[in-house]
Amino acid sequence: GHAPALEEDIALANVALDILGQARGLLTRAGELEGAGRDEDVLAYLREAPDYRNLLLVEQPNGDYGHTMLRQFLFDAWAVELWPALATSSDAVLAGIAGKAAKEAAYHVRHSASWVVRLGDGTEASHRRMQDALDALWPYAGEAFLDDEVDVAAAKSGLVPLPSELLPSYRKRVESVLSEATLPVPPDPWWQRGGRQGRHSEHLTYLLAEMQVVHRAHPGADW
């Protein structure tokens, strides 16, 4: 989304840069563990939507700035719980990536939470738009905490925390920020799910098309 001020556009780009760096580390490590010779570029540019395992929340399209910041906050509030837990992973490389990312996520959530509060507890118009954003995005907030059999196996081996274990602290933070933003916390809906199993909304295909087109138009290009 385009921010209402230049500084905030820059903030979004800076947050995106950190997250891109985190993703590069994760994709590189995933490729090493897979052992099939796929590097970060192959994994980012040459997979199709059903091969992606991202949360549905992050592929939801940009709306107004309030919508964008609320989505960012719902993501950051999860990331700030996830990364410190991954920093003690049995995989030393993953733990290293997470140790760095934890510090970055702490800064991100401070920023996105402050906008949720400022806009939620702002004017009548900004409050209404934050409420609309919350109604639209809330059903996507819970997917990150649903355990499947892969999570259970990975948690047992000490690789990752069990997703559901992060929920109480997440809920506490989100409820506290929403309350300060004068936005009533919605009741738990049926959480939208499927992204982590490769079942995505159509939005992901548009995002991937834009991200992958140059790489695919010039296979093997180097500079």
Binding site: E7, I10, R24, K100, K103
Partner: protein, 156 residues
């Protein structure tokens, strides 16, 4: 050819985005190991997405290759970089070029540090304009005494 020489050369490699300070001043160059033939320099990124990392790696390699035949640059993430590793010399150089060095970082993850003083006039009456600035490692602040905005290396 010694480890000391390697550190001296590294002290000449500027950070691409903060060219008044070197990779040693910033704590990006972490370790040097030399067994008489093979030189290994370990560097660490400031932020995960720092776009200058590749350039830093190439710059470090080029500078050291002037005196050492066999140079390897390794990137490590752990322990994660912190602004506590910026040297006193680095902090002085930053302030001298109008960039406020990081304030005290409160443990464990609290990132509410603030500049000690305006790098232009020295006043401690400063306020944040934006939490993110011209590079990943900086925020934008301003001085309410001299009214000048300035870059601040975020406590991290």
């Amino acid at each position: 050819m010694t480890v000391e020489l390697a550190w001296e050369l590294l002290a000449d490699v500027p950070d691409p985005e903060l060219p008044t300070v070197s990779v040693v001043d910033l704590g990006i160059a972490r370790e040097v190991a030399y067994d008489g033939e093979h030189l290994v320099v370990t560097i660490t990124p400031t932020y995960s997405g720092c776009p200058a990392m590749r350039e830093i790696e190439l710059d470090v390699k080029a500078r050291l290759s002037e005196r050492f035949a066999d140079v390897e640059v390794r990137t490590v993430l752990s322990p994660p970089w912190t602004t506590d590793w910026i040297t006193d010399e680095g902090r002085r150089k930053l302030a001298g070029s109008g960039i406020a060095p990081p304030g005290v970082r409160m443990l464990p993850l609290l990132v509410e540090g603030r500049p000690d003083a305006c790098p232009h006039c020295g006043s401690s009456a400063v306020e944040e304009l934006a939490g993110f600035g011209s590079t990943a490692c900086k925020a934008l602040w301003r001085c309410t005494s001299c009214r000048e905005p300035f870059d601040y290396v975020k406590a991290h």
